[in-house]
């Protein structure tokens, strides 16, 4: 399910417009299987939009995104891109997990119900099977005792860990994190970052949009700076943060320190 060169995600020259406003101006990136890629950059640089294009929460208008060798959202008919029917897009999303800035747990369901919902509904798992997986995942993110609580009774950090467990229950090939700690208190940020770091060490392929520079440096295999709808530079974390290989990166890192 990977490209010939081993990439799980391959984006080429991706463009996206919101009306007249061009937010992605030709993004090209690749992520190898088992690799952790962090995307940093100022707000409005298009990093979240790019992430959302990967699982078709947004539709890109030009270029190509392949995940596992499969073209996302379109069918290539002799070089012309034809949008896939919704049913096919829905199927493509199954292998891609996503964690949101605002957690987005289903508030009318308990934590356990949140986690078993999609495996039962989408994958057709039996309840016992789905619950066993869910309890194991809750153990992994340290929330076993909150299985029967409703989301609004949890702290932000607990909600985000539950949301990570919910995404993992679908056994995705790829996990997307859209600023997973931006809505959290500093005290609870750490517990969520630990869970994500654990997941990275387990070999999960991940793309993380983040403002946590220390985290990006420790956990990533590669870091990318996006600015103004384009990839400005990318490098391994040591080179990236030590040598700061572009003027824009130097300027960006200077603004946040």
């Amino acid at each position: 399910m990977t490209d010939v060169d081993g990439a799980l995600v391959r984006a080429e020259n991706v463009h996206k417009w919101f009306g007249q406003n061009e937010v992605l101006k030709g993004v090209s990136l690749h992520v190898g299987r088992g690799e952790v890629l962090s995307i940093i950059g100022p707000s409005g640089s298009g990093k979240s939009t790019f992430l959302r294009c990967i699982n078709q929460l947004e539709t890109y208008q030009k270029g190509r995104i392949h995940v596992g060798g499969e073209l996302i959202g379109f069918e290539d008919r002799g070089g012309r891109l034809v949008p896939l029917p919704n049913r096919r897009i829905v199927a493509q999303r199954r292998n891609i997990g996503m964690v949101f800035q605002q957690f987005n747990l289903f508030w009318h369901m308990t934590v356990l119900e949140n986690i078993i919902e999609a495996p039962m509904l989408v994958l057709g798992q039996r309840r016992v099977e789905a619950e066993a997986t869910a309890m194991a995942l809750l153990e992994r993110v340290g929330l076993s005792e909150k299985a029967h609580a409703y989301p609004m009774k949890l702290s932000g950090g607990q909600q985000q860990r539950a949301a990570i467990a919910r995404a993992l229950a679908m056994k995705p090939d790829l996990m997307l994190f859209d600023e997973p700690t931006s809505a959290l208190d500093p005290e609870t940020t750490g517990e969520v970052l630990n869970v994500i770091a654990d997941l990275a060490r387990s070999g999960m392929t991940m793309i993380v949009v983040t403002h946590e520079m220390a985290f990006a440096r420790q956990v990533s295999d590669r870091v990318v700076l996006m600015e103004d709808g384009k990839v400005d530079c990318e490098a391994d974390p040591e080179t990236f943060f030590r040598d700061q290989p572009s003027a824009r990166l130097k300027a960006f890192l200077a603004t946040i320190h």
Partner: protein
């Protein structure tokens, strides 16, 4: 002259079979119109948000038209107007041994079509109140449109829809009295015909008022139980006893009223 207390008490404590049958008719009319109206309301409410423009237009037209016509006019139009023009004439139907009169059918249909227009707006608002993030999360988990509508949008919209819907049903319980005009023998029509023979108009109208009040009171309690169930995820200590659940609805705490979810 004056208020005939003995007559009033006897009517109130022992209304008679005829009155009880009429009461049953009132309740049945309200329940059937509500259920039918709910079906219309859900279809039209979703239709108002359809991706397909002609569906949106038809649904918007329905809401606009029906909300602009008095219920009373609508009922007479259905029962007498259609028949007078020769388009359609309601006739008695016997189902499972129960005969539904022509006027009863016209009343249920008229009330349902009227209610449906109001419910469509309530349903539309409920759907639009579902946060975008909830839908995106469902999509990201691989749910299709039908799955996420059934499992995420409908339950969450229900939480928003039920209070105004209960309010509407309360209203509908009393609006059934308008069906007297087309000859449905419900409690108000019976009251009117009885007062024509006994001349105890005032006493009988007080009795029928108390009857409507009793109906809406019972409904209040039922609505309280439904809402307590729908809000079970919203508070730490759940109301457990029947009385506590009703009280939770009737007298919401200040802080509970403030917090959204």
């Amino acid at each position: 002259m004056g208020f005939d207390w003995p007559f009033f008490w006897s009517r109130l404590t022992d209304p008679g079979d005829l009155y009880m049958i009429a009461l049953g008719r009132t309740v049945l009319m309200a329940v059937l119109a509500m259920l039918l109206g709910l079906v219309i309301g859900v279809l039209v409410g979703f239709g108002r948000l359809s991706k397909f423009a002609p569906i949106r237009a038809v649904c918007a037209f329905y809401v606009w038209l029906i909300r602009g016509i008095p219920v009373l006019v609508l009922l007479v139009l259905f029962f007498s107007g259609l028949a007078a023009a020769g388009f359609f004439r309601f006739s008695d139907i016997t189902l499972f041994g129960i005969t539904m009169s022509a006027s009863f059918q016209a009343a249920v249909l008229g009330l349902a079509i009227h209610e449906g227009a109001y419910m469509a707006e309530i349903v539309r608002n409920g759907i639009q109140a579902v946060q975008r993030g909830q839908i995106e999360a469902a999509k990201s988990l691989g749910m299709g449109t039908f799955q996420l509508t059934r499992r995420i949008i409908l339950p969450q919209a229900t939480r928003v829809i039920v209070p105004p819907l209960g309010n509407d049903f309360n209203h509908l319980l009393k609006t059934t009295s308008l069906a007297s005009v087309i000859g449905v023998q419900e409690i108000f029509q019976l009251t009117e015909s009885m007062s024509a023979t006994t001349f105890k108009t005032f006493e009988l109208l007080i009795v029928v008022s108390i009857t409507y009040l009793a109906l809406t009171t019972v409904w209040n309690v039922i609505q309280g139980l439904i809402e307590a169930r729908l809000r079970r995820h919203e508070r730490d200590e759940q109301p457990t006893t029947l009385f506590a659940k009703i009280g939770y609805y009737l007298w919401p705490r200040g802080d509970a009223a403030m917090e959204r979810r």
